[in-house]
C-alpha cells in the first residue's frame, strides 16, 4: 500500500521517553510523580508515606526538597527521614544536587517538582535537576499540581485565576515511569485549606470550580496510563487491548461531507480524550478538482488535531481497513454513499462493504 506522506517523525515526548527508558534501565532508576488537582489534596502525605514504607523495607531514602508549609502529619513523616538541606541563596532554595549525588541514595524525594532555580544554578529548572538525579541512577519521588503543568496552566488560570511562572512540560509527565493521582473530593480539599466542611457532593461555587480541575487531572492521568500501556504492549509483544482508548478514523472521499465528519471527530476526540486520524483515499485517475478538495479536507483535519494520511489504492475499502487495523482504530466515520456507479452495483455499496470488512470496529455512517 503506497503512501504519499512521509514516515511520521517521532515526537519529542517519545524520544525523551526512549532516552529515559534506556538510561533508567541501565541504572534501575525510576521517576514516580504524584499528581494533584489543587493544593490540599494530600500529595505530600501520600508521597512521604511511600518514602517511609520504602525506608522501612530497607531502601536508602533521602529527602531533597520539602514544601514551605507542612501539616502535622507530614512533619511526623519527615522526622524519620534523612533530609539533605537545600542551598541557601538570596533568590531561593534550590535542591543541592551536588550533595545528593555525592550522598548517592537509592531514592530521593523532591517536593514539589515545579520550581525555577535561582540564576546561576546548574540547571534553570528543578525538573532538570530531577533528570540529573535519574541519569545518576537515583529513583525520584516527586509531586506536582495541575496548575504547574505548562499545557494546563491557562485552563487552570481560567478557572481559579491563579497564575504561576513555575511550570514543567507535559512531556516530562508523559515520560514518567509511574504516575499516581491523589484524588479527594473538593469539599475535603477545601476543608484542608481551612474552609468549613460542606455536605457530600458539589454544593457550592468553589467546589464546582475545583471539580473542573479534578476532571482534568483524572483525564491527564488516564492519558499517561494509556501511553504506558501502549509501550508495555509494544515491549511485550502482546495483542493490543481494545476499547480503553478511543481512536477515530475519518474517511474522506471525494464529494463527501468531510467537514461535518471532522467536526464530529474533533468533538469526540476531546470528549473521550481519544485520538483522531483522517485518511483521504485516492483512486487512480482522480481529477484536479478533487486535488483542491483533498487539500482543503486534509488541512481541516490537521487543524482539528488529527493525524492525516493519503492512501492510494485501487481497492479503497481494503486500504482503509488495513490502515484502521494498524492504528488500532475503534470507530470509522464515513459518509453515506450517494451515487451508485456500475461498479457499486456490481461489487455492492462501498459503505456496506466497509461495514462487512471492518469486523471489530464501529462504523458510523454520516448523512450528506
Amino acid at each position: 500500500m503506497p503512501r504519499i506522506s512521509e514516515l511520521p517523525r517521532p515526537s519529542p515526548e517519545r524520544l525523551l521517553k526512549q532516552v529515559q527508558a534506556e538510561e533508567s534501565k541501565r541504572w534501575g532508576a525510576r521517576l514516580k510523580i504524584f499528581l494533584g488537582y489543587a493544593p490540599g489534596v494530600g500529595k505530600s502525605y501520600r508521597m512521604l508515606d511511600e518514602a517511609r514504607r520504602r525506608h522501612e523495607r530497607g531502601e536508602d531514602v533521602v529527602v531533597g526538597a520539602v514544601q514551605g508549609q507542612q501539616s502535622e502529619e507530614v512533619q511526623d513523616l519527615l522526622r524519620n527521614l534523612e533530609l539533605i538541606p537545600p542551598l541557601e541563596t538570596p533568590e531561593g532554595q534550590p535542591v543541592n544536587v551536588e550533595a545528593i549525588l555525592s550522598r548517592a541514595p537509592q531514592v530521593c524525594v523532591i517536593d514539589p517538582l515545579a520550581a525555577k532555580n535561582p540564576s546561576g544554578s546548574r540547571n534553570p529548572y528543578r525538573w532538570q535537576d530531577v533528570q540529573e538525579l535519574l541519569r545518576n541512577g537515583i529513583t525520584v519521588l516527586t509531586s506536582v499540581n495541575l496548575l504547574h503543568v505548562e499545557e494546563y496552566k491557562e485552563k487552570v488560570q481560567a478557572i481559579t485565576g491563579k497564575d504561576t511562572a513555575e511550570t514543567i512540560p507535559k512531556s516530562f509527565l508523559m515520560a514518567a515511569d509511574d504516575i499516581v493521582i491523589v484524588d479527594v473530593p473538593p469539599d475535603l480539599c477545601l476543608w484542608r485549606q481551612g474552609e468549613k466542611l460542606t455536605s457530600t457532593g458539589i454544593s457550592n461555587y468553589r467546589e464546582r470550580k475545583l471539580s473542573e480541575l479534578r476532571e482534568l487531572a483524572l483525564l491527564l492521568t488516564a492519558e499517561v496510563v494509556d501511553a504506558q500501556l501502549e509501550s508495555y504492549v509494544q515491549a511485550h509483544g502482546i495483542e493490543p487491548v481494545f476499547g480503553t482508548h478511543e481512536r477515530f478514523l475519518i474517511c474522506m472521499t471525494p464529494h463527501s461531507d468531510a467537514l461535518a465528519m471532522i467536526e464530529s471527530g474533533k468533538r469526540n476526540k476531546e470528549r473521550f480524550q481519544g485520538e483522531l486520524y483522517g485518511v483521504y483515499v485516492c483512486e487512480p485517475g482522480q481529477s484536479r478538482r478533487d486535488a483542491v478538495e483533498i487539500r482543503r479536507y486534509l488541512e481541516a483535519a490537521d487543524h482539528a488535531g488529527g493525524t492525516t494520511e493519503v492512501l492510494e489504492s485501487d481497492d479503497p475499502i481494503s486500504a482503509i481497513v488495513d490502515f484502521a487495523r494498524q492504528k488500532r482504530i475503534t470507530q470509522i466515520f464515513i459518509g453515506h454513499s450517494v451515487h451508485n456507479s456500475w461498479r457499486d452495483r456490481f461489487f455492492g455499496d462501498p459503505v456496506l462493504r466497509l461495514i462487512r470488512a471492518a469486523k471489530g470496529i464501529d462504523v458510523r455512517v454520516f448523512p450528506h
Binding site: 457530600t200 473542573e212 483524572l218 481494545f242 476499547g243 480503553t244 474533533k266 455499496d349 455512517v365
Partner: protein
Amino acid sequence: MPESFAIPRGSLKVYLGYAAGVGKTFQMLADAQAAVQRGEDVVLAYFEPHARPDTIAQAQTLEAVPHKKIEYRGKLFDEMDADAVLRRNPKIAMVDELAHTNIPGSARPKRWEDVQVLLDAGIEVWTTVNVQHIESLNDQIWQITGIQVRETVPDWVIRQAAEIIAVDVTPDALLNRLKRGAIYKPEMVQKALTGFFRGSNLGALRELALRQAAHEVDLRQSAYDETSAFQLPRVSESRAGETAGNQSKEHVLIHITADPSTAMLIRRGRRVADYLHADCTALFVHETEQFADLPAEQRISVEKHLRFARSLQIETRTIQGEDTAKAVVEFARRNKVTQIFVAHSETSLRERLFRKNFTENIVRLAQDLQVTVVADRSHRH
C-alpha cells in the same frame, strides 16, 4: 404531597478502584477516622472480616454494627445486618463491597439493595466498588481481561452517588502488594498473577477506572450547573453548541433484536447518550400482528433485552412493522432521532442478494441520519 415531612434521602459516596488491593477500603476507613475526629457519628455497617492487616488496624477504632450470621448449606456466612444499622441510625455508615451478592436466605439478594434501604432512611452511606462491577462496562471488562464479571451493580446506583473518589495506585505497587501476600493467600497469588492481575490488564483497567471517575465527576458538574444560576466556562472538553442551546438535543435510538449482541448494543448506546447528554430510546419492531404472536424463544429474549434497557433508564417502545428496517427509520424520523445504533450482523450472500439484512437496509434507507454500526469488539484479529 407530604414531601416536607419525608426524611431527606441519605447521600452516597463511592470509592472506585480498578482491582482488589488498590486500597479502597483503607482509604474509606482513613476518611472515616478523620470524620470521627471531626465529631461525626460514624459506624462500620459492613466490613470484610478477611481484610488485610493494615486495613483491620484502621477499622479497630471504629464502632462496628455486628454482622448477621446466616447459615447456608451447613456453613455460616457474614452479611450486613441492615435492620441493626437502621436501629442504630448513625449519620454515616460504611458499607464495604457494594457489588456483593448476599447469601440465599438474606432479606435482599444484593448488597446495593441493602444500601438503598439505608439511604431511604436518611443515612449517609460510604461504600467501595471496583470498576469491573459497573453494569455498562461489563463488555469492555470482558474484552480486556477475558473474564466475565458476574456480580454487577446497575449504573443508576453509581449515578445516584453524590461523590465518586478514584483510589489510584500504580500497577507495580499493586503487584508488589500481591507478591508480598498482602492481598491474597500465598496459594492464590500465582493464579492471580497469570489471570486478572496480568500487567496489561491492570493498566487497561486502571485507565478505564480513571476515565469512568472523570466521566462521573463531569456528570455531577452538569447536574449542579442545571440547578444553579451561574455558568462556569467548561474547559475540560468542548461542548460547542450544547450549552449555547442553539443546537438541537441529540437523541439516540437503539435497535433491539432477539440476538444476544443486543445487550452489548444497549450498554454502548447508553454510554454514548450519557456522554452527549442525549435522550435515549430502545425500539423493537415485530413483523407479526401482535408482539405475543412471536415464537416463544424470540419473545423471551426480546423481553429480557427490553427489561435490561429499562434497568439502564432507557425508554422502550415496541411497534409493528412488516419491513423492520423501514419501520426503524420511519420511527427515527418521526421522533427526531439523531443517531441510530444497530448491531453488526453477519450477512450471507443470499441475504445480500435479496436485501434481507436489516442492518444494511437501515444504513441504505437512513441517508439523512447518522447510523452507527456497533461492532462486537471481542473479535480479535
